[in-house]
Amino acid sequence: MIDAYAYIGFWPYWPIKVRKTADLIKLMDKWSIDKAVVSSTRSIFTPNVEDGNQEVYEAVKEFPDRLIGCAVVDLGNEESALRQIDRALESGMRGIRLYPLYHGYSLRKVSPRVFNKLIESSLPVIVPYRIIMNWGLPRLQPEEIEFLLKSLSDIDVVICAGNYRELAPTLEFLRKNDNVYFETSCLQVWGGVEYLAKTVGADRILLGIGVPLQYPACGITKVQHADISDKERELILSGNAKRIFKV
């Protein structure tokens, strides 16, 4: 199993048990999660995204077989965004995550140079609606994601952390764009996984759990119990993530 949407780092809003990367690995062991695609929460909550990205570089170095690193890039400032993308490539990161709400910019205002750099990098771009499924956290509007998709039609884009209110626009994105994928960490809808599999194909869906911020069993069970074939399940649990993140 690969958790396509996971984190390392501190959680500032309430105490969580897992605060160190080694403890994250133990949690993954407990729930048979082979790998997790991680960014650092420090990159979301503190001004310099590179501080958190450095943590990710080091965590991946320490646990290369378990963690897949995603750099958080702040696209709001053109020059620093270009540097951050370069750094992500140099450091062997396998993806780039965007948190525009937390970094104070609109995806509609990102410079074409930055989008071109993202395309040149060939790294998949991960764009979450929210950090985790908690109604207290802000949500990125689907219109912002729509704009991003128009600008990044040549690379893989993984839309994350969508729930029932985002499902209709997300389905439209998936239908219209073959390069777009969706992970399941925040999808709580009855039959959501099989509905997606039947509607857009299991090859477009990735297991997301949100470790260590969300209950692993909750993320896993909705895929395990989904009314889909074993082949579809395998794709969702790990096959698609392996392909997209080149594992």
Partner: protein, 260 residues
């Protein structure tokens, strides 16, 4: 024994990915999950005509006697005497086991985010009178509302049992389950129900640690949510097996006096 303390009869949304929860559908859901019972309120009653919706629940409880139990819903306190009469009739004549109240958007559906000013909160004097009727009839009140609203209602009617639906994990409550626990700590007639979109790791454990497992009940919010996911919040929580049994069914059975 597993009792789903928070389910719905009816149709949630026009979107095709939401199932329509008829009585038969709810019964098949119980079979699928291996649950003993569920307690349902009508979505029609919550968002439109409460009497029509409540009668549909009555029909469901008759069709699946002992497996589907019902909450009588009142849309807002503004129906006052009519609402009190509805509660009285539905409980005494039709055997409904609880009352559902809802801090509702005045205009529904509306695009996100919903401004606070458009909500009709349950924390208002006419609602206290409706809740007093529930207390008099010795049935609990399942309240979809903020922790603050539930606290004020619970304090205003100390003989009532207020089950805070979703334990703060709603849009109106901004997902603040910590506040829900704080509030329940300060007011013993508040119970928390677990169903929600939220799967924040550790929230069930925190509630058990601060309140005791006796103050928490399991719910799924079907047909909205994946029930396996809702169930795993409790089953996978790092709490004692006895605490899980309490949450999954024994607490609500005790509150509803099902064994009597």
């Amino acid at each position: 024994m597993i009792i789903d303390a928070h389910a719905h009869l009816g149709s949630w949304s026009k979107e095709e990915f939401f199932p329509v929860a008829t009585a038969d559908w709810l019964a098949s859901y119980l079979d699928l999950m291996g649950f003993d019972k569920l307690i349902a309120s009508s979505l029609l009653a919550i968002f439109y005509d409460f009497h029509e919706g409540n009668l549909a629940v009555v029909e469901a409880t008759r069709r699946y006697k002992g497996r589907i139990l019902g909450y009588v819903t009142v849309t807002t306190s503004r129906f006052l005497d009519e609402a009190i009469k509805e509660v009285e009739e539905m409980v005494t004549k039709y055997g409904m086991v609880g009352v559902k109240i809802y801090s509702t958007p005045l205009y529904h559906p509306v695009p996100m985010p919903w401004p606070e000013v458009y909500y009709l909160h349950i924390d208002e004097p006419w609602m206290y009178r409706i809740v007093e009727k529930a207390a008099e009839l010795e049935v609990p009140v399942l309240a979809h509302a903020t922790p603050e609203d539930c606290l004020n209602v619970a304090k205003a009617v100390p003989d009532a049992t207020i089950i805070m639906a979703h334990m703060g994990n709603t849009q109106i409550a901004r997902g603040d389950w910590n506040k829900a626990i704080m509030v329940a700590e300060s007011c013993k007639n508040i119970i928390l129900d677990t169903c929600s979109s939220t799967v924040d790791m550790g929230f069930v454990e925190r509630a058990v640690e601060r309140l005791g497992a006796e103050r928490i009940v399991f719910g799924s919010d079907v047909p909205l949510f994946d029930p396996w996911c809702q169930l795993e919040k409790v089953k996978s929580a790092e709490i004692d097996e006895e605490d899980k049994r309490l949450i999954l069914g024994e607490n609500i059975a005790r509150i509803l006096r099902l064994e009597e």
